[in-house]
Amino acid sequence: MITGDAQHLASSYDTVVVGAGPAGLAAALGARETGAERVLVVDREREAGGILLQCIHSGFGLHYFAEEITGPEYAERALEQVLEHEVDVLTDAFVMDIDSGAGSSSRLALMSPSLGITTVHTETAVLAMGARERTRGALALPGARPAGIFTAGLAQKMVNLHGYLPGRRAVILGSGDIGLIMARRLTLEGVEVAGVFELMPYAGGLGRNVVQCLDDFDIPLHLSTTVVDIAGRDRVERVTVAPVDAHLVPQRDRAWTIPCDTLLLSVGLIPENELSRTLGVRLDPLTGGPVVTSQMETSLPGIFAGGNVVHINDLADWVSEESLIAGRSAGRRVAGTRLPDDNIRIVPGDNVASVVPHSISSERAHTLYFRVREPIREDAVIRLGSLHQRKVRALVPAEMASIKAAPRFLEDFHGDVLRVDAVPASRAAAS
């Protein structure tokens, strides 16, 4: 293992993975499995593991490790796997630039305290940079700009890694999973959580988290309600919240004010694709991440991607599984195995916000992952064009859904585009 230490760093690799979170670690393992011999994982943090290190709650690993564990345990196991496979892990290092220029190899510019600026060549690369949180700026939240406004993940890092409390009395805007988890975490640490406020008429996070993080601690969840003002000179002193109408417009005559010193934002994640843009990888405006084939290859040959950098997942386990595919594809490319060609484009249809991957092959079995726009709280039907459909009990935006595409459904299909729809069963029967 290398940790912020340049001594063992080679000048060229078969596969370089950018990011050592669940995506990057799984991708490195996948690449080693299928033929890459010299694999490097680079991460800008001091330790590998990504955001898992601060997710001290349970609920990870049921699918990928067949055991329910916490985030740090998941990170440690994933790291052990790659170290057993003699992968180089370079932490405390930042990938400034990737240039996939001419020929079959890419050039990475790395910067770290021990290395200064250095160049590494690689035959293939896997983008595994994950995501970052939406901030106040992305929401255009009105009001003063005092201290005390944090994203939920930043507060999580402060509390769980460094042992600081962000404040004494908190309001949480947004009911994403990190916000719900932090409502419980802060409550257990003695911070009073005045309430969680959600613009939409349904929770953004998983039902399990609403029950176990809010209901268990009598923390109120106000749906269809948002923050309309923040007041405070140096530090947040109060926030004003108001219910919204059917068009999400705040009803200011029904607003009320909550004294607090802290406002946490849990309002979504954005795939982190600055490096992908530099590279010139095609991005999907719906996911915010690279357009990928069924083998998780981007629009640039030899450049693969997996995990939250591609689309926001709700479980680290899905991130690992998807990135394992990306890594295996990179390894196959290194070994000279031709990757199967895709011949069908996949597009989001009725009530589907986005689908990954963006293309599939009619010769192989694939799983398509998607998210619905509107919740369906009754029997629902997922359709793959008119070729195949699957009934499910319910579909909500908070939970990623999937449908299988297998050669037997595609035998008689001669088009080149397939839609994925997700509609209530009652409506599907009528149409």
Binding site: E68, T70, L188, A394
Partner: protein, 127 residues
């Protein structure tokens, strides 16, 4: 025969989120309504009779690369003991290095669950 009371639960078994109603008298379940599948019925029963939760928090660690060590209970504990366990762990101090899975408190508060380290913590290099 005492009066029947009704408790409601939000099922977390799947995204459907069924609203479960449990009628009970003298602590015995009389009827469960609102579930769409067996998992929901089982969940309602468990939540009503013996709700259990995982517990995670951090404890102070000295000499490590970070000041806090994440810990968890080795198995789910009664929901009502969650706060007491987190409070009891505030006074726990450990010294790096720590191995992931190491038992830090055995049988915490008599729950039968151990408190274990949820990561390894290596010693910080000397300054």
């Amino acid at each position: 025969m005492s009066a029947v009371g009704t408790a409601t639960y939000l099922c977390t078994s799947c995204p459907l989120g069924c609203r479960l109603e449990v009628d009970a008298a003298d602590g015995d379940i009389v009827e469960i309504r609102g579930f769409e599948c067996k998992r929901g019925e089982r969940y309602a029963k468990q939540e009503h009779l013996d709700p259990r939760r995982q517990v995670s928090t951090t404890v102070r660690v000295t000499g490590g690369i970070l000041p806090r060590l994440p810990v968890r209970v080795s198995e789910p504990v009664a929901r009502d003991s969650v706060r007491a366990i987190v409070d009891a762990l505030r006074t726990v101090r450990v010294v790096a290095p720590v191995r992931c899975g190491a038992v830090l408190v055995a049988d915490v508060l008599g729950t039968g669950a151990d408190v274990i380290a949820a990561r390894s913590m290596r010693r910080a290099p000397r300054a």
